[in-house]
Amino acid sequence: MEYEAVIGLEVHVELKTNAKAFCGCTTAFGGEPNTHVCPVCLGLPGVLPVINRQVVEFGLKTALALNCQVAPFCKFDRKNYYYPDLPKNYQISQYDLPLARGGHLKITVDGEERVIGITRVHMEEDAGKLIHVDGPDGGYSLVDYNRTGVPLLEIVSEPDLRSPAEARAYMEKLRTILQYLDVSDCKMEEGSLRCDANVSVRPRGSQSFGTKTEVKNLNSFRSLQRALEYEIERQVAILESGGRVEQATMAWDENRGVTYVMRTKEEAQDYRYFPDPDLVPLEIDAAWIERVRRELPELPDARCRRLIDDYGLPAYDAGVITSSRDLADYFDRVVALYPDAKTVSNWIMGDFLRLLNAGNLEPGQSPVPPEEMASLLQLQKEGTISGKIAKQVLEEMFATGKGARQIVEEKGLVQISDAAALTQIVEEVLAANPGVVEDYRNGKDKALGFLVGQVMKATRGKANPGLVNRLLKERL
C-alpha cells in the first residue's frame, strides 16, 4: 500500500522586543547566567505581570502577514505544569481565545504552489534553560532564567503538509515572512525559531487521519526534514507490519538520527488552563488592526511578483532574491543604480551569494555595499574591466572591503582596449601556435577560443576579449 504523511507544525518564535513579555528585563541573547532577571521573571512571591505593548504589536503584524483573522477580544491563560525551567510552574499563554486564527501562507515545492492553513497565532512566554551535568547520584541540572519571560509567538499550522520537503518549505517561508516583518532574529541555532511537528501517516487517498505523534527538538531545517523522514518511515513500517501507531510525544536525537518516546498518551499532561487573573483582556479594534496593516512592509510574495512584473526576472530568480528581505533590499538598491535587472540578478545569485556563504555571512552583513556592486557592474559595462576580472575584483572587494574602482586602479586591472597595444601580443601568439592557426583555417572554430585564451593569459586577463577576437579574425 502507498502511504502519505499528514504533517502540522507548531512553530515558536522569540520576538525581538527590547524588554521581556511581562517585565522590564532585557531580551538580549547570551549574557552570564541569571543576569537578565528580576523578581517578576524569577516568579518571586508577590510579583505581577504587565504585558509589553510591543509583544501585541509584533503579534498583530505577524497575524496580518499570515492572513489571519485577529480576535477583537483575547485574553491570557495560565498553562500549569511543573518543570524547573518555569519559575512559577505555570506558563502565561493563550488558550481558548488566541490573538488570531484562520490564516495561510503559500509554499512552492518542485514548482508546485500550495496554500498551507494557519490554525492560530498566540502569545506566550519562554522558559529558562537547563544544563544537565553528569555526576554521582545521577548528576544534577543547572537552571538559567535569562530566557524566562522572553516573548514568544506560537504559530500553529493546519495538518496540510504532505511531505518533509513541504514542511521544510513551510518553515523556510515562515522564517522569511518573520524576517520581512522584522519581529524576530529567527536564529534556529540560538533557539529564537523552534519547531515541533505533529505527524501521522495514512493510505494515500484516505480522508481520515491516522494516529499522530508529536516530534520535538527540531532545531534546524535539516533536523526538521530528517526527523520527519525518519518518523514517517517508522510509522509506515509499523502499519505495514500490521501494528498500530501509539499516540506519543517523541524527541529527535540529532546525533543518532532517530526519534524516541518522551511521553506516552497515558502520561499526557493535564495543564489545567484558566484565565490569568493577573492580566486583563485585550480588545483590538478595527482602527488598531488597520494601522498595523498599513505599516506592514512589502511581503515576500508581493515582492517576488513585483520583481517578475517590473523587471521581467524569471520566477526562479525572483524567488531566490526575495527569500531574504536583506537580499531583496540589496537587489533593489543595486538595480536603482544599475538598471539591468537580469545582470544584477545573475551576479547576486552567482558570485555574490557564493562569497557570502563562503564567509558565513547573511545578506545584511555584506562587506560590499550595493553602491560598490553597481559600480563594479558599471566598470564591466563600460569596458574598463572584463567579466573575468570583475569576478576577481568582487572577491577582492569581499576580502578587503575596498571599492571596485580603487581595486581596479591599484592593481592595474584596467582592460586593454588599445588595438595597437594588443596587436603585438596577437602577432606573438599566432607565431607561437602555427598548428592551431592551421586548424582554424581548416574550419576548426574551437581553435579561435584557444588563441583568445592565450592572448588573455599573456595579458593576465586584462585584454578586451571582443577586441582580441576581432584582431585575431582580421589576421587569420
Binding site: C38, I51, Y145
Partner: protein, 94 residues
C-alpha cells in the same frame, strides 16, 4: 459525584503533593463533604450567564517596551537552596 481515593491520588500528583495514607483518607472525606456542599450551585441555571473572570472592566493595560536593569545575580541567587556557577542547582532533570 463522590471523589475516590484514586482521584485524590491523581490530584495530589498533579499538585506535586505527597500524601500519607491518613492524609489521603482525610482529604477524600473532606473534599467529598466540600464538593457535596458545592453541588448546591447546580440548583442554579447558568446557561446564558457570562462567567466573571475579572470584576473590573479593565482592558489593554500595557507596559512600554523599555529594558531596565534587573537584579544583580547575587540577589537573584540569594534565596537559592542550592546554586553552582551562577545558576540554580536541582536534582538532575531527565
Amino acid at each position: 459525584m463522590p471523589i475516590t481515593t484514586a482521584e485524590v491520588e491523581h490530584v495530589a500528583l498533579l499538585a506535586r503533593l505527597k500524601l500519607t495514607p491518613e492524609e489521603k483518607a482525610a482529604y477524600t472525606g473532606q473534599l467529598n463533604a466540600i464538593l457535596e456542599y458545592m453541588d448546591k450551585l447546580n440548583a442554579l441555571d447558568t446557561t446564558d450567564v457570562e462567567p466573571t473572570a475579572h470584576v473590573l472592566p479593565l482592558r489593554n493595560v500595557f507596559r512600554d517596551d523599555v529594558a531596565r536593569p534587573g537584579l544583580p545575580r547575587e540577589k537573584a541567587l540569594a534565596g537559592a537552596p542550592a546554586a553552582s556557577e551562577g545558576q540554580f542547582k536541582v536534582p538532575r532533570v531527565v
